[in-house]
Symmetry: D3
Subunit: 263 residues, 6 copies
Amino acid sequence: MMKKNQILQKYAEGKTLVNGWISIPSSYAAEVMAHTGVDSVTVDMQHGMIGFADLMHILQAVSSSTATPLVRVPSSEPSMIMKTLDAGSYGIICPSVDDPKICKTVVDACRYPPLGNRSFGPSRGLTYGGADYVKYANDEIMILAMIESQQALDNLDEILDTPGLTGIYIGPNDLAFSLGVIPGSASDKVETAISHILSEAKKRNLFTGIFCSGLENAQYRKEQGFNLVTPGNDAGALRNAYQTFVGKLNDEDKSEIESTGGY
Amino acid sequence: MMKKNQILQKYAEGKTLVNGWISIPSSYAAEVMAHTGVDSVTVDMQHGMIGFADLMHILQAVSSSTATPLVRVPSSEPSMIMKTLDAGSYGIICPSVDDPKICKTVVDACRYPPLGNRSFGPSRGLTYGGADYVKYANDEIMILAMIESQQALDNLDEILDTPGLTGIYIGPNDLAFSLGVIPGSASDKVETAISHILSEAKKRNLFTGIFCSGLENAQYRKEQGFNLVTPGNDAGALRNAYQTFVGKLNDEDKSEIESTGGY
Amino acid sequence: MMKKNQILQKYAEGKTLVNGWISIPSSYAAEVMAHTGVDSVTVDMQHGMIGFADLMHILQAVSSSTATPLVRVPSSEPSMIMKTLDAGSYGIICPSVDDPKICKTVVDACRYPPLGNRSFGPSRGLTYGGADYVKYANDEIMILAMIESQQALDNLDEILDTPGLTGIYIGPNDLAFSLGVIPGSASDKVETAISHILSEAKKRNLFTGIFCSGLENAQYRKEQGFNLVTPGNDAGALRNAYQTFVGKLNDEDKSEIESTGGY
Amino acid sequence: MMKKNQILQKYAEGKTLVNGWISIPSSYAAEVMAHTGVDSVTVDMQHGMIGFADLMHILQAVSSSTATPLVRVPSSEPSMIMKTLDAGSYGIICPSVDDPKICKTVVDACRYPPLGNRSFGPSRGLTYGGADYVKYANDEIMILAMIESQQALDNLDEILDTPGLTGIYIGPNDLAFSLGVIPGSASDKVETAISHILSEAKKRNLFTGIFCSGLENAQYRKEQGFNLVTPGNDAGALRNAYQTFVGKLNDEDKSEIESTGGY
Amino acid sequence: MMKKNQILQKYAEGKTLVNGWISIPSSYAAEVMAHTGVDSVTVDMQHGMIGFADLMHILQAVSSSTATPLVRVPSSEPSMIMKTLDAGSYGIICPSVDDPKICKTVVDACRYPPLGNRSFGPSRGLTYGGADYVKYANDEIMILAMIESQQALDNLDEILDTPGLTGIYIGPNDLAFSLGVIPGSASDKVETAISHILSEAKKRNLFTGIFCSGLENAQYRKEQGFNLVTPGNDAGALRNAYQTFVGKLNDEDKSEIESTGGY
Amino acid sequence: MMKKNQILQKYAEGKTLVNGWISIPSSYAAEVMAHTGVDSVTVDMQHGMIGFADLMHILQAVSSSTATPLVRVPSSEPSMIMKTLDAGSYGIICPSVDDPKICKTVVDACRYPPLGNRSFGPSRGLTYGGADYVKYANDEIMILAMIESQQALDNLDEILDTPGLTGIYIGPNDLAFSLGVIPGSASDKVETAISHILSEAKKRNLFTGIFCSGLENAQYRKEQGFNLVTPGNDAGALRNAYQTFVGKLNDEDKSEIESTGGY
């Protein structure tokens, strides 16, 4: 039997999932992260410094952990979505799903016929997922649409109603930009939009995830009801750790070292 | 003029240096670390997951920062020492310098004639150091001998008296092992040995560095008088950060998450 | 004179061509395959675990053999098609050529003006093909359109009539999916479609190739009249070999080890 | 403060800029070139043998020099444009900007809101550009549209009037092809077109760059008034150097060794 | 608890182990092999086309399988032995263990003090083996000495009596060469030596492994009593598969295609 | 039949050979160089920025040319010498062959028994050299000892009399250093030593090669009677080309741009 999607199972059980975010093109860094108890790891091919060879090595490295591998694809272009799935990703997070047509394109790329038009060629699916990968892949692969623009808000109902969509993932920084707010600044406008997306998604029993600016923000989003929270990325965690080392060892008052969160 | 060795200059000015430790084979992770204000970064080719191609990319990536690049070589074998210098390292940390003969081999490998027998072929030295690299390299390259065994303690005077040696670097874990102590456990025996090495080195005006189990330990070593402290490695920092994220977000009481320090 | 396309020459002489299929991102594995007597090798950038750096290394490695290098591109997107040609591929196999417009886009991307709009920048063409590459490339580069959907069947005549098209390549698995048949299962519907495509292509003197589920199937397709047959991919061959080793050495009755063919 | 774009500053001061062109996927070769005094280096992702991992390593390697890093992207597809900027490029040269719609797509991809729709996720921008990268990036990132077809000539006014465009870059080879001229041959038609583009761009105070077939041609283009000239690429320089070595050492009369210029 | 060494456990249960042999520098090929049911895979750093970065990726890729990862190191040089263990190998196969001094060097490199002098720095041991890796590694890491020369035969008793040695691995090709026999040719001399090594090893309850020229030979070695047999390497399997495809499809009588076994 | 060593054949015919020198870790740069008409290319693993994976890719890339592939190994350590031969090198240039014992170690590492102790495992030898590689390799592999120190001069007779040695290669820079002369400066002492080595080698009909500081120096060495001359390395050629571009285009008087030759 094909390996089950662990986060879909935990989600069914009501657990709030902790997601790691990978922008460093190193399978060793990814493996270290995947073994810390995170429920899933997302390889960021949009803004992360990661090409396809890196992606494959990272997906292999995290396969020995219990963390479910996801990929944030660079765009809704179908051939790259299909290739990341063939490489063993158990789900994709697609940026800028601004209208229902894009959403359908994305869903179609992730589903074998007759549900979609994903091309046959499972590759690493056979080693990571199992020999019957093709038979069950449509049940295990998650499809998360990023809602991160005014346009997406305008089309929200139609996007969320796309058959086959697993859920949404909010990118608060691009959403802020689109609403005329500088990313990272406090904004009622952005918070209102986030609440609205969350509630519309929940209404339809859709899975909900969000990128957070740090641990504290992740705790807030968890309480707010998101199913999956990303407390920041690997580069940010490394930067913060060493900035703290340097600040303390140089006796500098760096109580105000700003988190650069997950970018 | 060849680029000066920044940490030799800061050392002359009395600053205690903060050193980053790189075990992740990613030039991007290394670049992020190098821009946090650390005074130097050491690429660990002994226990780090790093081959030569990774080393070169890492050395290139840190070249845009003010951090001085050092390499912990895998052993005292001269051809690899020379190659890491040709790749642009401004110093080497050599493991297991257990007797003066090894120490002389290491020093000879780092110095152009007539001071040593480093082979001519500067390569990246010309881009990172400058066109007159060969003329000044003997003045800028640091040579740190790791004192990390009973045998090295027995031979300490002769090792430290090796002409051309810049200083020492203590590996407390291997030193503990060699003294019959489990690495990481508190031990007067190990502390006594460390104090002895430190004081013998200082007596000769040698540069002193040490690997630390974390920030607190690094602060202690700074107060103890070490010139350079390494508060832990990149993989440990990443692991600690995500274990904290997971622990807090899962509401687990993980107040006792142990640092795995710099390995 | 630019190196001639070997398989175009053998095709003119009536030989049925044996094509290797590369999904493993290793130039060494590719080189081994290319020296087994195969007439061509196709690097699969759609479902294979292969990025651009891997592709270039593979194309270099097979250049010392007599096998003609082809690339199955990820999609009909022109810039990637052009880049694989610049890297030294002597032909492309394009997936999902479902209508004549796509077919024209693909042909245009493969032909320098005035026949198409391939951008100038021959790169590896100059080392693999020769200094007069640009002059003769339009004569040597093969363009094979994959016919693998109901839509492509519906548009078959117009697709096949696209000026400049060298021939077709059938993907039986995606074709089956599109016809409502599970890939790998016996199906008259699929066989009828294959025969139809074959005969329409031959009517127009187009080159015909097909992916096969294994040696036996390849022998059948050869007899059926295809010009080029792919008996399976590298990963499948490796898997089958070791599954046989394990089965026999463990005294298991694995007479029914299924070939996973070329995916 | 974010690191300033050096070539924009020198351009303001009226200096004609010398640009290196990178097609070799090696950060070491790139670093060597970047330290020769060139004002900028352009990594060619369209015809160069360069994938994303290579790009990142190259951008890191040139960061220690004073040369400004630019990228010739494979196409106007926005997600790749954004990713090369996130990797630290300070400008993009986009091929085949044949109409104003393409031009607007390109400009939008390079500008954060509200000027465009570049997605948030600065990554290497933070290490190369500085912590306030997002705030100032819109001022520093250059956007050069390649004018290299009859269609672009037909739409020249509208293309050049695109708000936010920094300037143009001429690809004489593709332009020749499009005008029915064999690339590399002398042609009044091509020269007339080049002069026209140059004068239209200058009329609007746009930045002007051009690819040249060698040093002599670059000197001519400088005198003609171009702001940035590319005297040829790395592979061509290497080829020419060794062809000269071989010709002279074999006592062959190779006075007619043709430059292969920058491709 | 540290992950147990699976082949040591199966060995204790009396199973004859099937070992895959990796010479292709691809983590994807390795992963495919590791999931075929082989009990272990050995990454060949002596004659395989594999550097350190490849090794790490391969070890990560096989970590998701039940196959135990071993490394054939290039030589008895300790720093490389230690580094392959830090990378997660659960055992090493060391070439040319020709005398007991070499054997002790190898054993010492594989055992933490007080049993040996392996340096502290577990790295991937912590992710693959577990957080208590250092505590239990001495129990799980296998040390196999290659007996493959007349000199080793002369010193056999002393080599086999080295405390801490897990067992032996026979390299029949080098052994043949050393005995004046052309590798691959039938030879009583070589067979007598093999039998002698096997029986001396068994007398001391040492683990016994051997490289085989193919499946048939592996079956013979299994019957002869070896605990672990290697039926050939990955490159050989791939070559054989495609040579068969080509031979059959070209209707050539290639009934005599020679296996090139594991090199 | 195993592919013949082209430079051994041309040497027999009396041609002076032109050798390219590779320090850039790029198979594409290497391929470009190998197709310029050079008789051989040497991959520099001592001072070049090249690890094993790079070496293999480079050796593959040059295999499609007529240039014979050689490797300058990092040292006389046998396992790396053997591995570079397994990777397809047709000869090695070994640094610092300072005494006859080192010379014998090197020769032994390059010859299969009974002539030496090279270990069996031909790998790429089978694809580049041919299926009968093992049978003929001892005839085709060249072994060149670098004479580059006072010590080597003192031991010259014994070194040159080592059975199996193909010839010598002079490293003038390290030789100068060893003689107390700054590399690159004119020196009768160094010239006398070079002449002496040349004449002693010729007396014994040994092959003679030398590294040169540029084209002019290479022409001089050719006239002096060397069989193989290296006019400089790839990085130097690239640097010189772009420094010339910059100097001329900036109207600077750079008539005195110094060649950095082959380092």
